[in-house]
């Protein structure tokens, strides 16, 4: 009515601070470029739950979720046109992250790598992959390590079983796990997203340390336009601009500032002091893509259930 | 007939609470509905008021069939057993309520309410709330409230049940006077026969949803139509082999007799100067002081009979032999009652000074 264009970005929990900043940047950019006012309305939550809310009618113009799989789910209901992954660069993944460890100041339990996590005296905090999309990355990161050090499948499973038997609290989401570790002071090590770990480290200055494992996974959050909604709202173009602009240099730097790894390799290098670039990062393709990974590991009765319930 | 019920049936589920009830009440009469608990008295009253609908049958008020007229339009005043005074209104507001609904001008309302309150002896209590009144006063407010809109018919459901014995007696007299003075057709429910007998012009006796008898108190007292009425009304002892008593013969199929204390005269042996031949000899079994009289229980050849004796007379004592004269008794079979007079007594009644 007032000439303001409103778009809704449905995202997942650990991107709150980033998108708060990015939206402002974008709104200014759009104003400057086209002289029109855009207001971005933001929504956060567990990645899966956020995907579901879009399926159920949440009027999202764009989604920026933790997993490609979550976007595929929306695509399956017809809201997003096929081929979204190719719509933007880098598989529509403007930023990436990985899984690292957060330990208390001075690293009292001397945790250096994944194999320290299966020690009897270590309490691990990591969220439940069955309810949190983000936590699936944690699982896959550990599995990457297991596959690296263990060629035998039984050995890999054994490692995973031991690891998850060390988990003392398994929260429903990444944020819950963080709170448990940070606020409630539970556990010795938090298996966390790199950006999350960086945020905590900055926010609780001097209280926590980040430990980079030797092997981890390349977490590729994906973005897409929810075509049906955007069409209906007449915001297809703004939405495109919104996601496109994520790849701009300013935005990529902003991404770096907020602890995500910029997709732009050059800009990523500017943040070499922040991100350990030598970690051996596996990718989802090493696990046969999301759908395959999901079925093999996270479905009811699949690997996770087997190792966890009997660990 | 001013209020009339014709062949009324009322069912609650499977239970027949009124079973072909018909009766009529004349204009200006005060009628009691008397019967044991659960006999359907309240049900009848509520149907007249329109608070309940009969399953079958017609109700007439002033010659007009009112079955389809809603309760509020029947022009009936109703005094509820528990008074149902409006708790959050003062006495004045309670009485004025019906008048306000009629959109009567304030001034007129005030006049009428004040008049009614002084009529009912409640002057000066206008501002009180019901809970600041005694039971008797509440009853009168309920009465004034029911009267305020000038109803043609007044219905009262056990108006005295919740009141002290002492106050009750006063209120009864008061009610009777009031209703007579106003000439309003009234029906009240009671299960207390003293109350019915004392207050009502006519009594309707109900039992198991049926009207057993209707008549003046005296009629009902003196000639009960049905065995139920004979036993229900008055203080009665039931005697089986009444034909063993002097002067009474057995009536076929009538196996039981009712003897009321006032049918019995007990005299100290030798003091009875008439009807000696009609009198029995009995032994005093018990003498019970009843405040204003003595009840004397006498055993006559194994038949126990109770009579009354004035306090002014000589005391009889337990074990003493006395003369017992039974004037009459009721006998009844399944359906009917018969009044039997003592045959041994002469035609002429006993002579009293």
């Amino acid at each position: 009515e007032d000439g303001t264009i409103r778009i809704t970005n449905v995202s997942y929990d650990p991107t709150r601070e980033f998108y708060e900043a990015y939206n402002q940047m974008f709104e200014e950019h759009y104003q400057d470029t086209y002289g029109e006012t855009v207001e971005v309305i933001q929504s956060h939550g567990g990645s899966g739950a956020q995907a579901r809310s879009v399926v159920e009618g949440c009027n999202a113009d764009v989604v920026t979720l933790a997993l490609e799989h979550d976007i595929t789910l929306i695509q399956n209901t017809g809201l997003i046109d096929a081929g979204w992954k190719e719509e933007f660069s880098d598989d529509s993944s403007p930023y990436t992250s990985t899984i690292v460890f957060l330990v208390r100041k001075g690293n009292p339990k001397q945790i250096q790598d994944w194999n320290d996590l299966i020690r009897e005296d270590v309490e691990v905090i990591t969220p439940d992959p069955k309810s949190s999309g983000g936590a699936c990355w944690n699982f896959l990161a550990a599995l990457s390590y297991a596959k690296t050090v263990n060629k035998e499948e039984s050995g890999q499973q054994d490692f995973m079983r031991k690891l998850y038997s060390r988990v003392s609290v398994m929260d429903s989401g990444a944020r819950g796990a963080t709170t448990t570790f940070v606020e409630n002071k539970k556990g010795d090590v938090l298996v966390a997203w790199e950006n999350e770990a960086i945020t905590i480290q900055n926010s609780y200055a001097g209280e926590y340390e980040i430990i980079n494992p030797s092997v981890s996974i390349l977490a590729q959050p994906s973005v897409a336009i929810v075509d049906d909604n955007a069409d209906a709202n007449g915001t297809q173009e703004v939405s495109r601009q919104y996601l496109e602009y994520l790849y701009s240099d300013e935005a990529q730097r902003l991404i770096g500032t907020y602890g995500y790894r910029p997709a732009d390799a050059e800009i990523l290098k500017e943040y070499a002091d922040k991100f350990e670039l030598t970690i051996d990062l596996w990718s989802i393709d090493d696990f046969g893509g999301w759908d395959n990974a999901y079925e093999t590991y996270f479905d009811d009765g699949a690997l996770f259930d087997q190792i966890y319930n009997h660990s | 007939m001013y209020v009339e019920m014709k062949n009324i049936y009322k069912k609650y589920g499977d239970f027949l609470a009124s079973d072909n009830v018909s009766f009529g009440v004349e204009k200006g009469k005060l009628v009691a509905l008397l019967g044991p608990s659960g006999s359907g008295k309240t049900t009848l009253l509520r149907m007249i008021a329109g608070l309940e609908n009969p399953n079958e049958g017609d109700i007439f008020i002033d010659g007009k069939r009112v079955n389809d007229i809603p309760a509020s339009k029947r022009g009936i005043g109703f005094v509820f057993q528990s008074y149902a005074l409006f708790r959050y209104m003062t006495v004045y507001e309670n009485v004025a309520f019906g008048l306000e609904l009629q959109k009567m001008p304030k001034k007129q309302i005030k006049e009428r309410v004040t008049g009614l309150l002084s009529l009912t002896g409640l002057a000066g209590m206008e501002k009180r709330y019901p809970n600041q009144l005694s039971g008797g006063q509440r009853q009168r407010v309920a009465f004034a409230r029911a009267l305020a809109p000038n109803p043609q018919v007044l219905l009262l459901d056990e108006p005295f049940a919740a009141i002290d014995a002492k106050v009750r007696t006063e209120l009864r007299t008061w009610l009777k006077e009031m209703v007579t003075k106003l000439g309003i057709t009234s029906i009240f429910v009671t299960h207390d026969q003293d109350e019915a007998v004392e207050v009502a012009d006519e009594i309707i006796i109900t039992n198991h949803g049926v009207v057993e008898q209707m008549g003046t108190p005296l009629e009902i007292y003196k000639s009960p139509d049905t065995p139920f009425v004979a036993q229900f009304i008055g203080r009665s002892s039931v005697v089986e082999d009444y034909d063993r008593l002097k002067g009474f013969e057995r009536i076929p199929h009538a196996d039981k007799a009712v003897i009321r204390p006032e049918f019995v005269k007990i005299s100290k042996s030798g003091k009875l100067d008439q009807y000696i031949s009609a009198a029995e000899l009995g032994t005093v079994k018990e003498v019970i002081f009843k405040g204003n009289r003595m009840d004397v229980v006498v055993d006559i050849n194994g038949i126990e009979v109770t009579g009354e004796r004035s306090l002014e007379k000589d005391l009889v004592s337990v074990g003493e032999t006395v003369h017992v004269l039974i004037y009459r008794l009721y006998v009844f079979d399944e359906e009917k009652t018969y009044l039997l007079e003592n045959k041994e007594m002469q035609e002429q009644d006993v002579f009293y000074i």
Binding site: R16 | F80, R87
Partner: protein, 289 residues
């Protein structure tokens, strides 16, 4: 010591034990969590406290909360009064079942409430096509799920029986004699309600409204499923959740600060309830009717 004294002594001992248990339970289980909210909210100092409760988000979500609460109170008051009238003044077949149905929201998980609304009004719900047809026909953009109406509906659902639950027993005890008497004199429905019934249920009604308000202010689970956009459809509890989930040290304190608004509102309401109840009982005409 006489037996009477012994008895008196043991009675006093029981009394002391029971009072101790009660005080401990209420303090430890109810008061301490409450205080802990307050203490946590002040962790970063008072200035921060004021700052965190005066953000645009908080202000907006407070408005949404008040709107949802207001509507819930109005709807549930109307419903509560009607239900109480229906259930206490009339007898009809199926009354018991109706009474049971009214209580259902008490015992249903908020998660299911959210699910139920989504399956009705959400994109997958059967009502969605109807809504869409409506919108297309009239050129409107009426939304229920993920919009304010959904938030309001969910709030109404979870507080649904609160008012009726409070007034039904009161009216049950009162019976229907007074209403019958008034109806018999020709009073119309509304007059009867206003002059006769309302004074009886006034205190119960106020009490019910207060409870309903308290519960509506705090509803999280059901609304959570239907409200996704911060600053738009968020209620205070959702805003608290959002702050808590922001994951910085200060945002958690901010979450507690916003919670403290609700806590303070709740305390005010509960105190009001007590005062009102106390007054109500005092004013209530005593004695038999």
């Amino acid at each position: 010591m006489s037996e009477n004294e012994k008895l008196e002594r043991s009675r006093r001992r029981t009394k002391i034990i029971l009072i101790t248990i009660t005080v401990l339970f209420i303090v430890l289980m109810l008061v301490v969590p409450l205080l802990s909210v307050i203490v946590n909210s002040l962790r970063e100092g008072f200035t921060f406290y004021i700052e965190s409760i005066s953000t645009e988000y908080v202000r907006h979500s407070l408005l949404v909360t008040l709107l949802a609460t207001g509507i819930a109170v109005v709807v549930n008051t109307i419903f509560g009064i009607c239900a109480a009238w229906l259930l206490t003044k009339f007898s009809f077949r199926g009354k018991q079942i109706l009474a049971t149905l009214i209580d259902i929201p008490f015992s249903i998980s908020p998660v299911i409430v959210g699910l139920a609304y989504l399956m009705t009004f959400g994109r997958l719900g059967w009502f969605y096509p109807v809504l869409r047809a409506f919108n297309q026909h009239f050129g409107t953009d009426v939304r229920i799920a993920f919009a304010i109406p959904g938030v309001v509906l969910a709030t109404v659902f979870v507080t649904f029986p609160f008012v009726s639950r409070e007034i039904i027993p009161v009216l049950n005890v009162q019976g229907k004699d007074e209403e019958e008497a008034a109806a018999l004199m020709g009073a119309k429905g509304f007059t009867i309600f206003r002059k006769i019934t309302f004074p009886h249920m006034k205190w119960g009604l106020i009490y019910g409204i207060i409870l309903c308000t308290a519960r509506a202010l705090g509803e999280f689970g059901a609304v959570n499923a239907l409200s996704k956009t911060r600053g738009e459809t968020f209620t205070l509890p959702l805003e608290i959740d959002a702050l808590y989930m922001s994951g910085t040290k200060t945002s958690i304190t901010a979450a507690f600060a916003v919670s403290s608004i609700l806590v303070i509102l709740a305390i005010i309401l509960l105190i009001a309830r007590n005062i009102i109840e106390h007054r109500g009982k005092e004013k209530e005409p005593k004695g038999t009717r």
